[in-house]
Symmetry: C2
Subunit: 291 residues, 2 copies
């Protein structure tokens, strides 16, 4: 490869897609591990949530999102959505000619590394739990680990309502996590992008001895290592000496619907909302609708 | 009209669409008021929920659903989804050549009829509340009524989880309904199809003196009167002497995704699940995918 072409490629942003606003927790982790990188984020807010939908539908949505980001010039694609990672990674890899990282593999590997008792809990959407993707990925790393899984759909609404620290969140967490606590796991995977918003309540419910694994953070760590290994890190320019803020104008955000609501929830999740935010249609690969 | 053609038309089913499973509460009410009628129900489970989405998107989805049902031969269309009724009725009426009933008008009229103190509360999705559709419809009936509205997004997940009578539901209801209770309303509109599932908890929270209006029930009452008035009721056949069961094989159910999950939640909402249930694609007006 001609050197300056390679530099051009290196300097492309990293693409991230999620079913909606939850993937911002993965964006935050990537931003922290890779302060020199630029990001393009797509939230499929017109069709969120994916967690109650079928394999065929999640695959179709995931392919459309991936092609949209690929057509915008990215050097790598991170599938921030656990459900899409669990159900659609092979379909996405077949659809785009890019390195694709999902969040399930990194989350599973980090959990296997963390568990001493070889008992791991996983909380995720209905679709992710039904897919068995975490259990399979954990077994691939260590087949002697036992896994207990539970879907926690109300956590998503609690996070988006800004009720993460409410007494209701505590009570619901106790209900959802009862069987997992009884199973004496020493490690718990937060297998949905919304769940890190409820980290404090979840930690208090399962007790301080249980290690929480944020799949988004585990993914950011692996992506950082991969970029370094493949010599694909963005060049450090002089301005990189300044610490970049989350959601500054170098990171571009797209949503498929309701940009105002996205900005409001982003503010709640990240403490800041995107400077560059645009509503697009991904189903025709055209940007017909802008907000 | 030639008499037997008119009879053919009268004997067509009534179409109902909703963003998902919530509209089953409207189906139940219609079934109760119109035991001789047959129904075709479409739940847009591939794109549920509508309540957090924009006007343009809700309109597009609603038109696709309406055209799908119209092409299946119905004598009338009931838009069970409050959000679609609030945002998309004009677009739906322009798209199909049929009588179209939404749930907002009937709910508003029933509330105005019920209120003595001229103070009405409305609980609904974010999109319905933002649209101001209930406040406008109430003002149209009686401009001296004051209206207080509140979005209650967690009620949907609570209903679908089967936690309608839980202590968590009570605590969340108290939080959501605090301002409405403080406003001393004497009538409260359940402006989302999921909310009747939480009727007991909502009634206990606002107190027995507040009259709850189920927009679905109000709609069923108006639709029954309309059919009678227009002489469009189905002919009573001998077998109609037997009371029809909910979800028997005369009522057909379509979903755009995840039929198994729909059947499970239907069982929770109605005590029975559809005998005839099929997954379809409505975005191309083709039935490409069946389950």
């Amino acid at each position: 490869m001609i050197p300056n072409l390679q530099n051009d490629f290196r300097n492309l942003p990293i693409g991230i897609f999620d079913s909606g606003v939850g993937g911002l927790t993965v964006y935050r982790a990537l931003h922290e591990y890779l302060p020199d990188e630029h990001f393009v984020y797509l939230g499929d807010t017109a069709r969120v949530p994916y967690g109650t939908k079928s394999l065929a539908t999640v695959e179709r949505y995931a392919i459309e999102n991936s092609r949209f980001l690929a057509s915008h010039g990215i050097k790598m694609l991170v599938v921030a959505c656990n459900t899409a990672s669990a159900l659609a990674l092979p379909a996405i890899r077949a659809a785009v000619n890019l390195d694709v990282a999902g969040v399930i593999g990194p989350g599973a590997r980090a959990a296997v590394k963390a568990t001493k008792e070889k008992r791991i809990g996983v909380i995720a959407t209905e679709a992710t739990v039904s897919s068995g993707a975490y259990a399979q990925a954990i077994a691939k790393s260590d087949e002697n680990v036992s896994v207990i899984e539970r879907a926690c759909p109300l956590f998503v609404s609690l996070a988006e309502e800004g009720w993460a620290d409410s007494i209701e969140a505590r009570s619901i967490a106790e209900k959802y996590l009862k069987d997992i606590s009884a199973a004496n796991v020493d490690t718990l995977v937060l297998g949905c992008t919304h769940y890190p918003i409820l980290k404090r309540v979840i930690q208090e419910t399962v007790g301080q001895n249980v290690r929480l694994i944020d799949s988004g953070e585990a993914t950011a760590e692996e992506v950082a290592a991969l970029l370094k290994e493949q010599n694909l890190s963005r060049e450090s320019f002089s301005q990189s000496a300044n610490v970049r803020q989350l959601c500054d104008d170098l990171d571009h955000f797209y949503v498929t619907d309701a940009a105002t609501r996205f900005a409001r929830v982003a503010e709640r999740f990240l403490g800041s909302s995107p400077k560059v935010l645009e509503a697009v249609e991904v189903w025709g690969q055209d940007e017909l609708r802008k907000s």
